[in-house]
Subunit: 328 residues, 2 copies
């Protein structure tokens, strides 16, 4: 038999809402009542995870996921988020956001969701601050705004960028180009910083005329690669901020009758399913998005259960996956 | 501190119920009062509680989309559905379903959604019947269960299959193979029926040993193509039920050191973005999923507004897109 907050309330001689408030350390509850509730909870073996479920059943049991439907990562993140929340009895509402627009904040703070997973947050974005002020629990997944202290589940993007740089430098490449992502996302910035540091440490210069920048998309990668191919001295290798950008780069090569790695080496980042397609055979940096998303869901559930738990910053390791496109 | 409707009422000098009515544009409130309430709400930064609004209007203003996150079509359908519903003031809740499992029906019929878009319905599925019995408005998009009369937005799949058959027959192919989809989906059945009819009318036989079947996925397409390549007399052309299946087929060719159209012609169906990638350059049948999804959303909104409006069956035209993979 599961112990409920009603059992705790009965034993402590208080109302059920008071139990909830006492266990969330609400200031409206006196220290004496809080102590009585805690004692009753302990006596009945009313454990913290149980407590979270209790609070949740009184709420809407709905989690908002702020995500960009156009981004190739979206299904990779959404599926495990959805599955994890569902297994804990939560529904998932999608709040779609394009990279260049702000989310309808109102729907996050009007009390209709118990918490939010933010996957599109730009550096310096105001949304995390707004949510904090309104008391809406949230977890930053894959990107962070870096504005307020928060639970964050990110990849070791810098290490991945560095590994890509070392691979290309070790392959003897000296005329290396890069197609970086938007400066306003932490994931892109970190990948760029790691790649630059890796080249620097290996004595390879990344010149501005071999640097391009765009969104994490195939068309932007294709455009950037066409541009790089039009320069006087073509690069011998190109690092791409994401696999979709790398796919665009390889498509641009195909349009010029060229291919990777025979003409130009290409390295991506993410390890989407397409990277493993034999027609691309893309060397890339694997990010375990499924594990990251599941972890973010669990952190949010814990945060909803206990708003005072210390913030967690999780960095998931990445792994270089050598296929054909880097030239070995 | 959270601003409540009571704070707005105090500042505007009206009662709390008047605030609620004014903010939902109730005709009983004068324009002048409404303006005053809006000014007070704005001044205080008041966001109406969704739960309160739900109680007040007795409508959840929430639409469920039953979709398969693993399916490549999902983002194609979800983005326009989401945008169309949002522009009419509806939220979208995702009810994820894998092809081989039934959706949590409970969440559709417990009164928490105003209607549903069904995109994963298998032939003969019971869900449409259950929704009808419970009075939950729904629209079938891309697939139909065919069990109860309903609003349906489907593609001219049969015409598309026929066009693919005619293209390959006109190209002189006689040893033609097909990788069909699951028999339990209407879209797959219709594409197959059209392709078979098109071959028949052109005097080409489709033999059972050149027929394979799987899900609408790259791995299933790849597996089927490997299998076809192991047969005694290889086909000279392969029709694939979807672009992801065709990508799988082309990946299998690449693994054998072969390519389309030089060794075997390949034709897909859907015209996903990947079909246009130069590394694939896939000849395919274009389906206008964005227009279909927007139409389905509009039909559902109309159905919610008037449950007695006659049912609409919409078939969207498809278009053969000739790229490189069919061999011209």
């Amino acid at each position: 038999v599961t112990v409920t907050s009603h059992d705790v309330a009965r034993l402590a001689g208080v109302s059920q809402p008071t139990v909830s408030r006492a266990l969330r350390a609400d200031g409206q509850v006196s220290a004496r009542t809080r102590a009585r509730v805690h004692a009753a909870a302990e006596q009945l073996g009313y454990v913290p995870s149980e407590r979270g479920r209790m609070l949740a059943t009184r709420a809407t049991r709905q989690i908002a996921v702020v995500a960009n439907i156009d981004n190739a990562l979206y299904p990779q993140l959404m599926a495990p988020l959805h599955a994890t929340f569902l297994s804990h009895g939560w529904r998932t509402v999608l709040l779609a956001q394009r990279d260049d627009e702000s989310v309808g904040d109102e729907r996050l703070i009007d009390g209709s969701v118990d918490g939010a997973i933010l996957t599109t947050t730009a550096l310096g974005a105001k949304l995390p601050e707004q949510l904090r002020r309104r008391g809406v629990p949230f977890v930053e997944l894959n990107r962070t705004a870096g504005t307020v202290e928060s639970d964050r589940v990110l990849a070791h993007n810098e290490a991945g960028g560095r590994a890509a740089a070392e691979l290309l430098a070790a392959g003897g490449h000296r005329r290396i180009a890069a197609i970086f992502g938007p400066t306003e996302t932490s994931s892109s910035q970190e990948r760029e910083a790691g790649f630059r540091a890796g080249l620097r440490d290996n004595g390879v210069r990344l010149t501005p005329d071999r640097t391009r920048r765009g969104w994490f998309s195939e068309p932007d990668g294709r455009r950037a690669m066409h541009d790089l191919l039009s320069t006087k001295t073509r690069p011998t290798a190109v690092f791409c901020v994401s696999d979709m950008v790398a796919a665009g780069a390889m498509n641009a090569l195909a349009e010029h009758g060229l291919s990777a790695p025979d003409d130009i080496a290409v390295v991506g980042f993410d390890d989407l399913a397409i990277a493993g397609w034999p027609v691309l055979s893309l060397t890339t940096v694997r990010v375990d998005f499924a594990a990251m998303a599941a972890r973010a869901a669990e952190l949010l559930i814990a945060r909803i259960a206990d708003p005072d738990t210390p913030y967690v910053h999780d960095r998931f390791p990445v792994e270089l996956v050598r296929r054909r496109s880097h030239g070995g």
